[in-house]
């Protein structure tokens, strides 16, 4: 569905929450709910960011009782790694409780989430969807995260060192109730025996995702991107092909109105670092970011946003917007982005590595990408 069509969506969030409640009671709840999580799902289309976040949280929390299916694990790990909304992060922690096998990195991500949210804890309740002032004894997001760690017990032992360091270093920033939960979690982890075998269901955040298409866009995409009109941060107009063909490209997506510092702001900062590495390594490649929000992110805004994050603009390093709608890019790269009434309501992290002929050589999605792995992919695309 296009961003324009997104504005036509009408069902109320409460109605959708009712649908989630109904699905929760069915035998195939886990699979059905997992299928609803994609950012581009019609379920979220046309919703505001806050509403989409709450619906996502409500779905995630359902996995505690419905069971966490493997296809929903990346969504849970993503939330624990980069989520900023206490409600949704707590929901991801709840979801982990329903996992038959806990991903190896989950305990460390839980501890990371506790550290990240320690200044913005809030009362959360998953009993009903509507945001209301919950009763005095309702748990907070940090308490939910700590309880999940404690419940994981032996499976979370690898994170005990990080947890104890957090309690020692930042203990005073937690409320007495959360401190007690953290102490219980630390005790449960310290007591527990580590699992005999490592879980094989880990989704390595640093990892590369197999490209969905090895063919050039001309044959793979519904619309040829070669002629797609783009505009740089300096207002120069050029085609997609003129911008990127002839050498490999690391292409990420972002928008300047993104309020999660772990996502777009960090992505552009890391693109800037990547561009500097390319210079020192003398690797001939492009580094670029394209905004999801082309009507708002005009050249001057792109320029300021990039410069503030260390981008040194050049022919090989740029931030761009599409002149027309963003949809052709979303379709061609199957990007995980959903649109609300005005702008993006939710997106995953997406970075694609293109070879000189604009074929997708590698892609990194949902989890934070590591510079070294992107550099390796660029070298591979250059070979």
């Amino acid at each position: 569905m296009t961003a324009r069509a997104a504005r036509r969506s009408t069902a109320s969030a409460a109605d959708l929450a009712g649908r989630i409640d109904a699905i929760r009671r069915t035998p195939s709840a886990a699979g059905t709910l997992a299928a609803m999580l994609a950012e581009q799902s019609p379920f979220f289309t046309g919703r505001g960011n806050n509403e989409a976040e709450r619906l996502r949280g409500y779905i995630l929390a359902s996995f505690e009782t419905a069971g966490l299916p493997p296809e929903a694990v990346p969504f849970v790990l993503e939330e624990l790694e980069t989520g900023r909304n206490p409600y949704t992060v707590a929901a991801a922690a709840r979801a982990l409780r329903g996992a038959p096998e806990v991903p190896a990195e989950a305990p460390a991500l839980l501890v990371g989430a506790i550290a990240r949210l320690r200044g913005s804890d809030d009362v959360v309740s998953f009993e009903r969807f509507e945001p209301t002032p919950a009763s005095g004894n309702a748990a907070t997001a940090l308490a939910e995260l700590a309880r999940t760690l404690a419940l994981l017990g032996p499976r979370a032992k690898p994170a005990v060192g990080d947890l104890l360091a957090l309690i020692r270093g930042e203990g005073e920033t937690f409320s007495p109730a959360v401190r007690a939960e953290l102490a219980r979690a630390a005790e449960a982890l310290a007591r527990a025996e580590p699992p005999a075998t490592a879980c094989s269901c880990a989704d390595d955040g640093a990892g590369i995702v197999a490209p969905r298409s090895a063919a050039p866009f001309a044959s793979a995409a519904p619309k040829d991107l070669r002629d797609l009109a783009l505009e740089t941060q300096d207002g120069a107009r050029l085609s997609f092909s003129a911008a990127f063909s002839g050498r490999p490209t690391a292409l990420a997506f972002f928008y300047t109105r993104c309020t999660n510092p772990e996502k777009c702001s960090l992505t552009v900062t890391r693109l800037a670092q990547l561009a500097r590495r390319l210079l020192t390594e003398e690797l001939d490649a492009n580094v670029a970011g394209i905004t999801y929000d082309p009507r708002f992110d005009r050249p001057a805004r792109l320029k300021t946003y990039g410069a503030d994050r260390g981008m040194i603009f050049s022919r090989r390093c740029s931030l761009l917007r599409t002149i027309g709608p963003f949809d052709p890019l979303r379709e061609a790269f199957d990007l995980g982005v959903g649109f609300g009434p005005v702008t993006v309501n939710r997106h995953r992290l997406d970075l694609v590595v293109l070879d000189a002929s604009l074929a997708v050589a590698a892609r990194f999605e949902r989890r934070l990408w590591h510079e070294e792995k992107v550099l390796d992919a660029l070298r591979g695309a250059n070979a």
Binding site: E130, R257, V342
Partner: protein, 296 residues
């Protein structure tokens, strides 16, 4: 230390803190207040109470209890709310209390006291709190349920720059008057679809100056090129309001025109001619600023 004990000590300190400025009748009132301080004295003392590192938890608990207690006078509760707002700036030191603080704000968001309610909703809205946003949206959709005036509701919802409120603000704009209309335009300045509206309002000589000024900044933010085109016409139009011409010229001086490309000689000529004719101090100041910017 437990909360009741802390409360006794705190109230004694408050009464003491309120004493020194009392004279005559006020002194007698203050003497009585030593047993039961007046609302004004208590509010004043809460505002003046120093941060106590060793008993911050008790201090916050007391303030939260005062804020939530509907039996307390409005001024005292307001002072408690302001003190909590100040403590929120402590950052990590206030972190242990933030969840309770937000809950207390949510309770006060529907309080019968207008001033308290409005302040609590604003503090929550700054934090993009979904509960506060829901209350505000409900009030805009159903004015009989409104907890704050339309202008405030739009302003508070505008703190969330994700723009999810924009479709509703577009509707409210059509019926809004006075401050609500101005607030709506401030929010719509992040809505690319409102570009035409801003262009029309900026050009409309029958519109109020404040509306045209807001439209100028809205259009400049949404589409600097479109703003430049309209602003040039306004600057050159001798039948235009001097204030709007001055605003347009200042914006041109600070915008793309001055920074990123050489000034258009035609526009410079127009402005130079204008400088010889105009008597408006605002225009003269804008002209000087513009001409200086072209010298760079």
């Amino acid at each position: 230390m437990d909360v009741p004990e802390y409360r006794k000590r705190y109230e004694a300190e408050l009464a003491k803190a309120a004493q020194p400025k009392a004279r005559g009748r006020a002194a007698r009132r203050a003497l009585t207040a030593q047993k039961r301080p007046s609302a004004a004295a208590r509010a004043k003392a809460i505002a003046a109470a120093p941060l106590q590192e060793e008993s911050l938890a008790e201090q916050v608990a007391e303030l939260l209890a005062t804020l939530s207690n509907r039996e307390e006078p409005r001024t005292v509760r307001m002072a408690a709310l302001q003190a909590l707002g100040a403590l929120d700036f402590l950052g990590p030191r206030f972190a242990p209390f933030r969840a309770d603080y937000k809950q207390a704000l949510r309770e006060v968001a529907t309080d019968p006291e207008r001033e308290l309610r409005e302040s609590a909703i604003e503090l929550l809205a700054i934090d993009k709190d979904p509960y506060a946003q829901e209350l505000l949206v409900r009030g805009l959709k159903q004015p009989e349920d409104a907890l704050v005036p339309d202008a405030k509701a739009i302003q508070f919802l505008g703190y969330d720059d994700h723009g999810e409120i924009i479709p509703l603000v577009r509707q409210v704009y059509k019926r809004a008057k006075g401050p609500a209309r101005e607030e709506a335009l401030r929010v719509l300045a992040t809505d690319p679809r409102s570009e035409r509206l801003f262009t029309r309002l900026l050009k409309d000589k029958s519109e109020m100056r404040s509306i045209r000024r807001l439209s100028a900044s809205g259009l400049q933010s949404l589409n600097p090129e479109a703003f430049e085109r309209t602003a040039r016409r306004i600057v050159a139009d001798e039948s235009e309001d001097n204030d709007i011409r001055a605003t347009s010229l200042s914006a041109l001086a600070h915008g793309r025109e001055a920074r990123e490309k050489p000034a258009d000689p035609k526009l410079v000529e127009t402005v130079q001619k204008l400088s010889e004719k105009t008597r408006s101090p605002a225009m003269r100041s804008s002209i000087q600023r513009f001409l200086r910017s072209t010298e760079k």
